[in-house]
Symmetry: C2
DNA sequence: CTACATGCAAATGCTTTGCAACCTA
DNA sequence: TAGGTTGCAAAGCATTTGCATGTAG
């Protein structure tokens, strides 16, 4: 556990708004100005394997990271890419529905919502493109 | 509707195994040897906008394309990236669960399964890494 | 004839990697 | 001091884009 890894974990946990590697890099840089982006990527990978954090591979967007290890769903803003936790109960039975109906051995599932955050909703109303 | 666009659509529909742009490019090339990858990308984009096909932005994988416009879920193989349709009924009510519980204006949702296809399952048993 | 589509190649953006120097247990 | 880790720079890969030419309607 190097200083770099420590700071990355702390910074990710203190304000867990699901940052991308690059956003996290910028924040970590205020504490460790000489850290490199490669180190951030490498440590995020290691921390995932250790089960301390999770990598979010949301469709149609770059990778983001979640400071908590517990499984939950997310909502992503189509306007600004902001990611929030989705307040929905996990679908505990959904994988059973596939049993016998698919040739795959199911390992996991993920549910993702997309929509517009308040700011982007307002922005759209201003510019008149309410349907986009 | 150019010849290129026509062929891309036909090839995508005739064997809809959710190819990537590149795989589709290779297949289309057997009919139109001089087509460029850029053209394939551009036409796939256009066909999506026309509602003829859909773009699948599955997490942790490159973009894939589905020759049908109707909404359904998918399963992806963690070993070889093969993508099948998931035989599960659409969750028609799920977005309502978020109503009032999030500040987002929900537009859509997507459910994704991951697992192992028969071939990769067998492969794992052979090499002894049953848990990966 | 005009607008849009093409082929080609270069550019982009995120992510990974090779490598020599550097810590740290 | 041995093994993992770092910073840096370069490479990798999927995708997008600029531009001159070509083609459909």
């Amino acid at each position: 556990m190097t200083r770099q890894r420590q700071v990355i974990l702390e910074v990710l946990r203190e304000k867990n708004n699901h940052p991308s590697a690059d956003e996290l890099y910028e924040r970590v840089r205020t504490h460790l100005p000489r850290i490199s982006l490669g180190t951030v990527y490498r440590n995020l990978e290691v921390l995932c394997e250790l089960g301390q954090i999770q990598k979010l591979e949301l469709s149609g967007s770059l990778k983001r990271f979640d400071g908590t290890p517990h499984k939950h769903y997310h909502i992503r803003c189509l306007g600004c890419d902001r990611v929030d936790d989705a307040p929905v109960a996990p679908l505990n039975r959904i994988e059973d529905e596939l049993y016998g109906a698919t040739v795959f051995e199911i390992i996991s599932h993920n549910l993702e919502f997309t929509g517009y955050c308040p700011r982007c909703t307002k922005e759209m109303h201003k510019s008149g493109s309410l349907d986009a």
